[in-house]
């Protein structure tokens, strides 16, 4: 059925040819490429000494103008050859100038749809739609750029159809019905800034900067230390930029399918984490934050590790950048119902393990209850990894020669690639073996939906 007919942007085309994305796409995408080309040309000009006999300023001008032209032309051509089609069973994105490619996205395979607004696009009121499909390496498709309202409407439509409800394409005049979303957490900007300032790598970088400054003044060799100062300065700027700019205005809300994260100062991203794609949650508490009761949550979502977009709007695995313990526990409960890492029965590392981690051995333990497997480690940055039993992939036990001497072994609970790393290192070997088989059993029971408590034989026969 042909979509809505009175759009000012494009007349209703027959479905075979498909709809165009917004015409400014060419300008915006071209702008991004133009910037890259200009930077490349300018830096090569500056490092060399110009082309032939042309004076430097002229080569710079040529480089900038040329870069802009090339970038914009590429952007325009890409836009011209990109079309998308929405029909009864799938979304198709056709693109390519020389080699035509048609990306097919059947509705049932859509896992989540994110909206990203890189800075340039945001200035033009446009947004990019990122569609995540089930399985495989090429599971991420993106459609650039649509007006923001249209992008949101399209997201609604795709998610509805992915869940089996037929939806109609809304043209820009009608309002999409409000989803029932419950706001869970808003991280205030001051928290984000203070959290970044108190985070370990920032503090370390500042310390290093102070040391280098003092050394350069002491030895009166400022020039020699200048390189170090620049490197450290840019590292600090990068940390601040990445954390603060990416996590500004962090809002976490929940609907029936999953959690929705909205964040970003200059470029905004709206990302959905479907509940059933969550493979594990990692709770991180750097030393200084622990004193203040703050935690950071990271989530391991199937498929996110293979994403490699540009840094500012890439899909981040940060679930909650900074929150107090109560909020963090609440969010954890949403994703891994029933898991309470603090009250779990623990299997600790025996004192024989001090060889391998002289300070950290005291703080390591594993445990599990009916719902999840929990592993804790770390004293400078305390990490708690929570893996729901039904998401356990495989379980392994390892023992090297030194470990054999001390009668300890390491237990690994495997999950897909991501921030969660649930392993119990240097546990007593009998404990490791017992936990391996018990975890296997719990994972089996969870996969089949049984409760593990009913399977234990009643005490006393």
């Amino acid at each position: 059925m042909a979509p809505g007919s009175d759009e000012p942007v494009a007349p209703a085309p027959p479905e075979r040819i498909g709809l165009r994305t917004h015409p400014l796409t060419g300008l915006v995408q071209g702008g991004i490429w133009a910037a890259a080309v200009v930077v490349g040309l300018v830096s090569s000009t500056l490092s060399g000494d110009g082309w032939g006999n042309i004076p430097i300023w002229l080569t710079l001008v040529i480089a900038v103008v040329g870069g802009l032209l090339v970038g914009e032309a590429l952007g325009f051509l890409t836009w011209w050859f990109t079309r998308y089609v929405i029909d009864g069973t799938e979304l198709r994105i056709n693109s390519g100038m020389l080699t035509k490619s048609s990306r097919r996205i059947p509705y049932e395979r859509i896992q989540s749809v994110d909206i990203a607004e890189p800075l340039l696009a945001r200035l033009a009121g446009l947004a990019e739609l990122r569609i995540e499909m089930a399985g495989g390496k090429n599971s991420r498709s993106s459609l650039r750029f649509l007006p923001l309202a249209e992008a949101r409407a399209l997201r609604r439509l795709l998610l509805d159809r992915a869940h089996g409800r037929t939806g109609e394409v809304h043209d820009e005049s009608s309002e999409p019905p409000e989803e029932q979303r419950e706001l869970i957490a808003v991280v205030s900007p001051e928290r984000v800034i203070i959290g970044t300032l108190l985070s370990l790598d920032f503090l370390f970088a500042i310390l290093a900067l102070v040391v280098v400054l003092v050394a350069s003044i002491w030895f009166q060799q400022v020039i020699a230390f200048l390189g170090g100062l620049f490197a450290l300065g840019s590292w600090i700027a990068q940390i601040v930029g990445k954390r603060v700019l990416q996590q500004w205005g962090f809002t976490l809300s929940r609907d029936s399918r999953g959690l929705r994260i909205e964040r970003g100062l200059l470029s905004r991203t709206s990302q959905t984490i479907p509940f059933d794609r969550v493979q594990g949650v990692a709770v991180e508490e750097p030393y200084v934050w622990r004193r203040l009761g703050w935690q950071r949550l990271e989530v391991d979502v199937a498929g996110y590790a293979t994403a490699s977009d540009d840094n500012t709007t890439s899909t981040s695995s940060t679930l909650l950048p900074i929150a107090d313990a109560q909020m963090a526990a609440y969010v954890l409960e949403q994703l891994v119902p029933g898991a309470r890492p603090d009250d779990i029965e623990r299997v600790a590392v025996p004192s024989r393990g001090w060889w391998f981690a002289p300070i950290g051995w005291r703080y390591r333990w594993i445990g599990s209850d009916d719902h999840a497997f929990v592993a804790r480690s770390g004293w400078l940055q305390r990490t708690t990894d929570v893996v729901p039993h039904h998401k356990t992939q495989s379980v392994a036990m390892r023992q090297g020669p030194l470990q054999r001497m001390r009668r300890v072994a390491t237990l690994d609970v495997h999950t897909p690639k991501g921030p969660v790393d649930a392993d119990g290192r240097h546990l007593d070997e009998a404990d490791a073996r017992r936990e391996l088989f018990e975890q296997l059993e719990r994972a089996r029971a969870a996969r089949f939906g049984e409760s593990t408590t009913t399977r234990r034989p009643p005490a006393g026969g």
Partner: protein, 162 residues
């Protein structure tokens, strides 16, 4: 603890001794050739005792590889249980990995030219996690095929998605 890496019931299925033969062939032959060339060249260029030292070292390395190949092959084992597959390996760095059938995504059988000539193959299991790293080398070719078919079938019947 002696039976730390013993299977919970029954015994480990061993892999074929031809795995040791494969490893010995692939490692000792190139080393022998290199050592021979080195000895000849050195004998022509430098004092007589240097090539002797090289030859002794090469023989020592060859013997060590011979022994290692045998021990390593004997350390591989697998066990098919009702719901999962256990694989153990390693002499110095021992490892035991348990993979539920429902978590297997796909199963590969691979064999290089020398392995094919010896009639053995490697079965590799993949799950959604890259850390699983479960492979069983040195299986006789028909056992490898049988295992692969059985695992694929079990993976389908127990399949738990992601």
């Amino acid at each position: 603890m002696d039976d730390l890496f013993a299977p919970p019931n029954g015994n480990w299925q061993p892999v074929s001794p031809r795995l040791a033969t494969l490893r010995r062939l692939l490692l000792i032959v190139p080393i022998a050739v290199l050592a021979l060339v080195a000895v000849v060249v050195l004998a022509l260029l430098v004092a007589w005792w240097i090539p002797v030292v090289v030859a002794v070292l090469a023989v020592g390395l060859g013997l060590w590889i011979w022994v290692w190949a045998g021990r390593n092959q004997r350390a591989w084992g697998y066990a098919e249980n009702a719901d999962d597959l256990l694989v153990t390996s390693g002499v110095m760095f021992k490892r035991l990995v348990a993979i539920p059938y429902g978590r297997m995504q796909f199963v590969d059988v691979t064999a290089g030219p020398v392995a094919r000539a010896l009639g053995i193959a490697t079965v590799t299991l993949h799950t959604a996690s890259t850390e699983t790293a479960a492979d069983i080398p040195g299986l006789p070719a028909d056992e490898a095929t049988r295992l692969r078919n059985r695992l694929t079938e079990l993976g389908e019947t127990h399949g738990a998605g992601l």
